[in-house]
């Protein structure tokens, strides 16, 4: 009978509004939370791969640098300043050949004779983006392996060969092509057999093994201090948004390809953050609505509550119906939100499957559902008890 009496005090319209706003707010919040959990590992994975790779930085070349070449070099203070940045894991310097290098072939039936002046640079082996067997095994031999940028082949095949009517070359063909490299300096000279053994996407230079260049510089090189114009930098987390800001601020040129994930992560995090905030605000508004509704119900039915108390009903009896009603509605709506969020997750997992591998991890949505449910029920019950106590104090 008490239920029947109290049911008449409820406002159906207010309960429907509460249910709808809670459904929208909770679904949005849960969906964004799940989306964040799902795409987080993609960034982590990408960042994990990239953190093992080094990024090349150099100074931007402007009109002033062309006039004063010294400006393209990093001073030891500038190098130190890069090292000290918290997001920098390690740096490596480019080593340049300070002696004369030339490459040539002797004319044969298959290969036309050519001669060209060359330059060499080297980086620590760990900084290479490709693995070549010949790289280490060449130590102490007369064979000199060379890595060239992949862009050089493209430049030749789609630019030079096209315009000069020459045949295009594949990577495999180029790797088969033997030639000689002559190094000379300090009155000494040596000829090596050479071949292109790899193509780098990352380092835009003609690379030889670091151990070779170190040794050759001692024998043939000029006895001057080595200057650094390019650095190879590795980061703890390449998606760290401070990286780009720092290098832009310093006006250094950086290969931004490796940092794309960072930009995307930042943009998506902001977008998800905004949507999550909207979800939380709608949820909070729905809670505010129901708390306001309860406040109004209690105030409007003060006499009824006082009379119930007077004929023997205790505070717990009076609160029970409202507590049960709102807790049930909240639980049903949250479970419904959970279901809708899981369904929508299924939809986006299917859509994203072409691009990313997501959805392998188990949904953790039950955690926010439980937290939300506990918060709503606890806050609501506390407030309800307080409101009814407030009315009974009027006796």
């Amino acid at each position: 009978m008490l239920k029947k009496l109290q049911r008449k005090t409820l406002s159906v319209a207010q309960l429907v509004w509460y249910s709808l706003t809670l459904l929208v707010g909770a679904t949005l919040t849960l969906l964004i939370f799940q989306l964040y959990l799902d795409i987080g590992p993609i960034f982590q994975e990408e960042a994990g791969v990239l953190s093992k790779q080094a990024v090349v930085i150099s100074k931007k070349i402007s009109l002033f640098q062309t006039l004063d070449k010294d400006r393209i070099y990093f001073s030891s203070e500038e190098v130190q300043s890069v090292v000290q940045e918290p997001f920098v894991k390690s740096i490596a310097r480019f080593r340049s050949a300070s002696f004369k290098v030339s490459g040539y072939t002797r004319a044969s039936a298959n290969i036309p004779a050519f001669y060209t002046e060359l330059f060499f640079e080297s980086v620590p082996d760990s900084c290479l983006d490709i693995q070549v067997d010949e790289w280490k095994s060449s130590e102490g031999s007369d064979f000199l392996p060379i890595i060239i940028p992949e862009s050089y082949i493209k430049l030749y095949n789609f630019g030079f060969a096209e315009s000069q009517g020459l045949p295009v070359l594949s990577k495999g063909m180029i790797s088969q092509f033997p030639f000689h490299v002559s190094v000379s300096g300090n009155g000494k000279q040596h000829t090596y057999n050479s071949r292109i053994v790899g193509f780098s996407n990352k380092i835009n230079s003609i690379l030889v093994p670091d151990h070779f260049l170190k040794q050759a510089n001692k024998i043939y090189g000029k006895p001057r201090q080595t200057r650094v114009s390019r650095l190879l930098v590795t980061f703890d987390d390449p998606s760290d948004s401070r990286i780009l800001a720092y290098f832009n601020d310093k006006n250094y040129s950086i290969n931004q390809e490796g940092l794309k994930a960072g930009k995307w992560k930042l943009m998506i995090t902001i977008a998800l953050g905004v949507m999550m905030s909207i979800g939380v605000i709608i949820t909070a508004m729905s809670l505010f609505l129901i708390l306001l509704s309860v406040h109004l119900i209690i105030q409007k039915n003060r006499t009824l509550i006082l009379n119930l108390y007077s004929i023997g009903y205790r505070q717990e009896h009076i609160a029970r119906f409202y507590r049960w009603t709102i807790s049930t509605i909240t639980s049903v709506i949250l479970i419904l939100s959970w279901g809708v969020a899981l369904f929508l997750r299924g939809v986006y997992v299917d859509r994203f499957a072409t691009y990313f591998k997501i959805g392998n991890i188990d949904s953790q949505l039950w955690i926010p559902v439980l937290i939300l449910w506990a918060v709503v029920v606890v806050v609501y019950n506390l407030l309800l008890t307080r409101q009814i106590k407030g009315v009974l104090k009027m006796l």
Partner: protein, 207 residues
């Protein structure tokens, strides 16, 4: 069970106003269970207030009231007492039967048949499914009396319970109440404006 009042006075009344009272400011006023007490007073002398103080729904009094040694300030005494309020405290949206069941659901003191019998004795059988707001004050008073009898009690508090009832209905109501008092071996505190000889009182006090 004993109700003990010690120097009780409504805080909104001066000592001068209650100087002739047998109850207010009395050092040791005791009501025993099985005792029938009539409390008479003119309008505005605090009759309803006294019963509300004893029942524990109002605590705006000086002095001390104890029921079985426990102060009544903390809780409503609905476990020991039943009360027919002067303003009846019925629920307009419920029917006659529902108003009674609302109380009986809490106590399970009477069967539906017993409730129906009381309704019929007090001439309310045809009104049992009518919302109480459609009833006259006299009919509502009878509903409140039946509701008050639907619980175990040691004291029955009646605040001007027959003010809108005719002699015939008063006699029937008194019969029902007397039977319940006897069965429950309970006491009665009845306040009235006019002389009321419906019961055989053990005490008649002037408030």
């Amino acid at each position: 069970m004993i109700i003990a009042l010690d120097k009780v006075k409504p805080i909104y009344m001066s000592e001068q106003e209650i100087s002739c009272s047998d109850i207010y400011m009395n050092k040791n006023m005791v009501f025993n269970t099985r005792e029938k007490v009539l409390i008479r007073a003119q309008s505005g002398r605090g009759k309803s207030s006294l019963l509300n103080f004893i029942y524990g729904v109002k605590s705006s009094f000086d002095g001390h009231i104890e029921v079985n040694g426990q102060s009544v300030r903390k809780e409503v005494q609905s476990d020991h007492m039943s009360y027919v309020f002067q303003d009846l405290k019925l629920f307009d949206t419920l029917t006659v039967k529902e108003n009674i069941l609302l109380k009986n659901d809490l106590t399970n003191h009477k069967t539906e048949a017993e409730i129906d019998l009381m309704l019929s004795q007090l001439g309310l059988s045809e009104k049992r499914d009518e919302p109480v707001k459609h009833l006259s004050i006299g009919q509502q008073q009878r509903v409140a009396i039946i509701r008050a009898l639907c619980q175990p009690f040691h004291f029955l508090l009646l605040d001007e319970p027959f003010s809108h009832l005719d002699q015939q209905n008063v006699a029937i109501a008194v019969g029902l109440i007397n039977r319940e008092l006897k069965e429950q071996q309970a006491g009665l505190l009845l306040t009235t404006l006019d002389p009321c000889d419906a019961f055989q009182y053990d005490k008649t006090l002037q408030l």
